[in-house]
Amino acid sequence: MDYMNIALAKGRLASETMDLLREIGIQFNGWSENSRKLIFEEPVQKLKVVLVKANDVPTYVEKGAADMGIVGKDTLLEKEADVYEIMDLGFGKCKFSVAGLNQIQSTSYHKLTVASKYPKVAKDYFYKKGIAVDTIYLSGSVELAPLMGLSDVIVDIVETGRTLKENGLRVIEDITDISARLIVNKASFKTKSHRIHRLVEDMKHVLATKGEEDHDEAYQS
């Protein structure tokens, strides 16, 4: 039996995924959040986990170097990989939002400039609204752009909104909800369908029971 490879986005998503896998009885040798290792094996069921940057997860899966991957919807929207996106894992929840100092002035005569780590998402969103924009790609601290006069607004991931607030920005519009997704290589889905299905069904089962528990708790309080 071949190893089945799972690519995980380094960081919190990886930890949450490892927790989920442990709940369905899959434990990886030597895994801990602080480990510097990038590859972990589970020799009984022949599973291998590789930790890569979020942006690279769709690449690994589309090209078949990994059979499955777990990555945020934000990355998938920006990268548009040709893969099956078969499950919403429900964790890693946040939003894509437009933020700025003020409302967008629809009467303004100059072309709107948008700074973002996600230029494609930004462009697609404004394009759908029928607004022509210039996008500026930034690799971090996007909140600075409107403050420094680099752009009118930003498009970014918003979880609690604290970073925006502390820098004097506010959410103008929400674009879409984001959460962690399970993606599968199209060829692997056909050639290893049995194993993939079992894994997916197990995960679904755990997530569904969890969902109910959460629901119950909410009900009681």
Binding site: E62, V83, E85, I86
Partner: protein
């Protein structure tokens, strides 16, 4: 040393040499030979065509992906972005009006892919067949079995052939009154098996609930043939859907009867990888490789756009992908040189005579001039050239160095040839 960028191979294209190219040519030869034995005739179309040929044909490839050139008169040309469309033109415009045509091809296809991450993303080789003039199972069966046989002939193992039916979904959607854009969005979500977002998108659309429930089942219509067919039976809302499903069922049963069951899987969520497909479509995968190695299906409306109504079906094998898929499993056999014949200029006649006689036997033979009789130095300088036998043709004798490095001496050309030709 930094190299001038102009000397680099452009991204998305690659040089091929020696073993890799030999392996590729060999695969193409084997594949074309099989096509020939099924009665397919080779065709070749121009490397560049008018842009309008592809942009005006309904449902072809993305115009942004075509690699464009400007003609002398200002017209736009493109490097062949698709193999099938120009061949459909040949079929439609052929004189003589034969009832059907069976064409095969091996050609390079060019696309301006955004992702440069693989060496053959912008220029790649396809070998395939196109069967014009027959509708129905007969042609579908021939083309699909030929696709599997071709992969087997190319030494691929663990093949999965995934079949779908482009019309099954289309016939269903004809009864749903929603915008074209919404239809496309739904189709894309089904093709990505994105069940939860499909559910979300449907909740925003004004569609009858019973239809919504059916649409939600499309992403799950895949797996073993009979299992999928019985699930699909429950979704039929009109005769057209039933007809399309029956076609696929009949084909699948014939394939099972012919012993192809172990390769088969069905996916009714496989709707359309290229918009011109109109019926049964298929993709072939091999274990351990992440991309399809063959893609094909029925496209009954393409020839009509060139003036003649000819139903058609066919497939294309991605030759570079096929080689890539095997790179992991088998080591490329290194084709070395059987003989290297060394001689001084004054013995050129004897040396060349031996070389051409051995070549006639099908052996790979190289020749080399010696400046003096010290041929051992020559041999020592040739490491990595992978030569089996070394023969030094000297004034009075011939020296043969064998693969195990033992020596053998012959007194003249004839005795050497006698010894060698016996083997």
């Amino acid at each position: 040393m930094l190299m001038n960028k102009a000397y680099h191979v452009p991204e998305g294209a690659a040089n091929l040499q020696a073993n890799e190219l030999e392996l590729k040519e060999n695969k193409i030869y084997v594949i074309n030979e099989l096509f020939r034995r099924y009665g397919y005739h080779p065709v070749e179309t121009p490397s560049f065509e008018y842009y309008d040929l592809f942009s005006e044909i309904e449902g072809t490839i993305d115009v942004d992906q075509m690699i464009k050139l400007i003609d002398q008169n200002g017209k736009i040309l493109v490097l062949r972005p698709d193999a099938t469309i120009p061949i459909a033109r040949i079929a439609a415009q052929n004189n003589g009006h034969q009832p059907y045509y069976k064409f095969s091809y091996t050609t390079n296809v060019f696309r301006m892919n955004d992702s440069f991450q693989s060496p053959q993303s912008r220029e790649f080789t396809q070998s395939g067949v196109e069967f014009f003039g027959k509708e129905g199972l007969e042609a579908d069966l021939e083309v699909i079995t030929l696709a599997v046989e071709t992969l087997k002939r190319a030494d691929l193992e663990d093949i999965t052939l995934d079949m779908g039916q482009a019309k099954f979904f289309k016939e269903f959607m004809k009864h749903i009154q929603i915008s074209r854009q919404a239809t496309n969005e739904i189709q894309k979500l089904i093709e990505h098996k994105n069940f939860f977002e499909l559910e979300k998108r449907l909740s925003q659309l004004n569609i009858e609930n019973r239809f919504k429930e059916i649409i939600l089942k499309f992403p799950k219509l895949y797996g073993q043939p009979e299992e999928v067919f019985s699930k699909a039976e429950e979704l039929l809302i009109n005769d057209e859907m039933k007809q399309e499903l029956d076609k696929l069922k009949n084909l699948s049963r014939m394939l099972v009867e012919l012993g192809y069951e172990k390769y088969l899987s069905i996916d009714l969520g496989l709707i359309n990888h290229l918009n011109y497909y109109t019926g049964i479509i298929f993709q072939g995968y091999v274990q351990g490789y992440g991309k399809p190695v063959v893609v094909g299906g029925r496209y009954d409306h393409l020839a009509r756009q060139f003036g003649r109504d000819l139903p058609a079906t066919g497939f294309a094998i991605y030759i570079d992908a096929l080689l890539d898929a095997q790179r992991n499993s088998q080591n490329a056999p290194i084709h070395g040189t059987d003989f290297c014949i060394m001689f001084h200029e004054r013995n050129i006649k004897n040396g060349m005579k031996i070389a051409s006689l051995l070549r006639e036997q099908g052996l790979v033979v190289e020749t080399e001039f010696l400046e003096n009789d010290r041929y051992e130095d020559h041999i020592a300088n040739r490491e990595g050239r992978n030569i089996l036998y070394e023969l030094a043709v000297l004034d009075e004798k011939l020296h043969l160095v064998q693969p195990d490095r033992t020596h053998k001496t012959f007194k003249d050309v004839e005795s050497f040839l006698q010894d060698v030709l016996q083997k």
